[in-house]
């Protein structure tokens, strides 16, 4: 019985658990769950080899890392040197990464065992993992439903106990939403806390490396390992002052429920969320309704800004230096052909939208307006954090939706992100906690101010103990 990542590492160090046995169990579990289409690449032999190397280090008494023996998987938009990194997109299907990204390297350096690369919406554009070039991943709780997106594969892998933790990226909810749909913890840190070097870029001003774990305590260990200024990512913050020690959370603080996000919810979500709040009140927590008057505009703001950044970040995919390429004698036509065949429909949609909002005549009305609204949202969050210490909302207005039900309606698909985009825009930490339910999983989102990651994770663990 493993109670946490730290507990697992302790048991491995005492040789009560054998890494190679853990790997075999995981590989077995992958086979049992193969119909869920979780993986793009499985590293069976590499994982077996890594396990043997760890056992060798243990036998020789050599120093070992803080994640020794922990099995993990990563979303296939993390570059791993010498391996394919596809971003689930046609153009990168054969791309071999020339370097390993910072966060992934930090985890590997702690002797965690990487078992594979998981499915995602192509280029992380999506909320259901249905935009993948490969088959859609299915929700482990109901295979007719999506696991959420864009990090659906990593969420499903943890939910089915294939691994002990997994990594995804969260740009507007892409870890929190699948965490909510799959019934696991998903944590988006303060923007800039973790390096983006080695990620396939989506929106540079909101992309975050974000872990999936069974508990907030586990997420804290991973964040602590990965956090830090990186010379290879100029947008990383100095986290040397951040204290990740456990701290008891005093129930004298006030939790704010965002009024505007506590409406128009699916009845399952409303009921479960209300029950959670009642439970907290019964246990003595102060809960207050707060207003963020413009939060409902955050979704439109997000899609304008993120599409603009996507259109810029995806301009590099011309097939001239890497990527699947077509044939043509003319440079311009070749680029267009490479991109036509290289992107999924949603990628093209976002590139087109982004190009439009940045173009002459529309830039002020859309892009610049959205940037100013982003300032307003930052101000509103600052004001509300003077009234309460932390904010609560459901992670999603719905439970996991049926596969295929939103694929023809882009705006419906975007609405899944309604609750999660605002924290992304303002850069604050936000976690999704899996509430106790009889039916499909429902997530509770907890948000706290910038650079309060330790507070967020401590508070989240306390709420988790009471509600999950």
């Amino acid at each position: 019985m493993i109670s946490s990542l730290e507990d697992l590492v302790r048991q491995v160090k005492k040789q009560k658990l054998k890494p190679s046995q853990l790997v075999e169990e995981a590989i077995n579990q992958i086979q049992l769950k193969s119909d869920l289409n979780i993986f793009i690449e499985i590293y069976e032999n590499q994982a077996r080899f890594q396990a043997l190397q760890i056992e060798d280090k243990l036998n020789k008494g050599h120093p070992i890392g803080r994640l020794t023996g922990c099995i993990f998987v990563v979303k296939d938009n993390f570059l791993l040197k010498g391996s394919k990194t596809t971003a689930a997109a046609p153009i990168l299907q054969n791309f071999e990464a020339p370097f390993t990204g910072t966060c992934l390297q930090k985890i590997l350096d702690e002797d965690a065992i990487l078992l594979g690369k998981t499915n995602l919406d192509a280029f992380a554009h999506g909320t259901s993992t249905e935009n993948s070039y490969y088959k859609s991943t299915k929700n482990p709780h109901d295979s007719q439903r999506t696991p959420g997106g864009s990090s659906g594969g990593s969420a499903a892998a943890l939910a089915t106990d294939i691994c002990h933790f997994s990594l995804g990226t969260d740009t507007g909810g892409s870890v929190r939403l699948p965490a909510s749909f799959c019934g696991v913890v998903g944590y988006k840190p303060t923007y800039g806390l973790l390096s983006r070097y080695g990620l396939v870029a989506m929106a540079s001003s909101t992309d975050c490396v974000a872990p999936f774990t069974k508990t907030p305590q586990d997420a804290k260990l991973l964040i602590e390992i990965m956090a830090g200024r990186d010379n290879l990512d100029a947008t990383t913050l100095d986290s040397s002052n951040l204290d990740f020690r456990p701290k008891t959370v005093n129930q004298n603080l006030t939790l704010g429920v965002i009024k505007e996000l506590n409406q128009n919810l699916d009845s399952d979500v409303q009921k479960t969320f209300n029950e959670a709040l009642d439970h907290l009140r019964t246990n003595g927590w102060q809960i207050k309704e707060v207003s963020l008057p413009n939060i409902k505009l955050a979704l439109a703001c997000y899609y304008v800004l993120v599409s603009a950044e996507v259109s810029s970040n995806l301009s590099r995919y011309d097939g001239l230096r890497y990527g699947v390429h077509q044939s043509h004698d003319d440079w311009g036509e070749l680029i267009k052909l490479n991109r036509h065949h290289g992107f999924m429909a949603e990628n093209k949609r976002r590139i087109m939208l982004g190009t439009y909002v940045l173009s002459q005549g529309y830039y002020e009305a859309y892009y610049q307006k959205a940037q100013k609204l982003r300032t307003l949202l930052c101000q509103e969050f600052d004001q509300v954090f003077r009234q309460v210490e932390a904010l609560l909302s459901p992670t999603s207005p719905t439970v996991a939706f049926k596969l295929g039900s939103k694929i023809d309606d882009p705006v419906q698909m975007y609405l899944a992100d309604l609750m999660t985009v605002a924290p992304s825009l303002v850069g604050i930490p936000a976690i999704s906690l899996p509430l106790k339910t009889a039916g499909l999983p429902v997530g509770l989102q907890l948000m706290t101010p910038q650079m309060t990651d330790n507070f967020n994770l401590n508070l989240a663990q306390e709420l988790f103990n009471q509600l999950c």
Binding site: L232, Y303, A345, Y356
Partner: protein, 98 residues
């Protein structure tokens, strides 16, 4: 509903270096109209008095000495693996005719 013309769709596609099929032009014309309709909610709010936020870290640009760190430089052999046409340490591409 926000109408976006076929000419506009083609112009955007040209700027974005995308080649669209006739069916895709129709589809994106319709879908972009719907998405822009949704984005028009932004027009309701008064924000002209505010500065734009480009990034939320409050970091400012710094510089460093322009020198190569051999540990970080990518290996040409790794770049060559992915390249369609790699000649003499350069990516060979078709002629730019216009």
């Amino acid at each position: 509903m926000t109408q976006i013309s076929k000419a506009q769709v083609l112009k955007i596609a040209q700027l974005a270096q995308l080649k669209l099929s006739p069916q895709e032009i129709d589809i994106y014309q319709r879908e972009l109209g719907v998405i822009l309709d949704f984005s028009n909610k932004l027009q309701a709010v008064s924000v002209n008095h505010l500065e734009a936020t480009e990034q939320v870290t409050n970091l400012t640009n710094i510089t460093r000495i322009d020198e190569i760190d051999a540990n970080l430089a990518l290996d040409l052999k790794d770049l060559e693996k992915n390249a369609p046409n790699f000649i003499d340490r350069q990516f060979a591409i078709p002629k730019i005719t216009h």
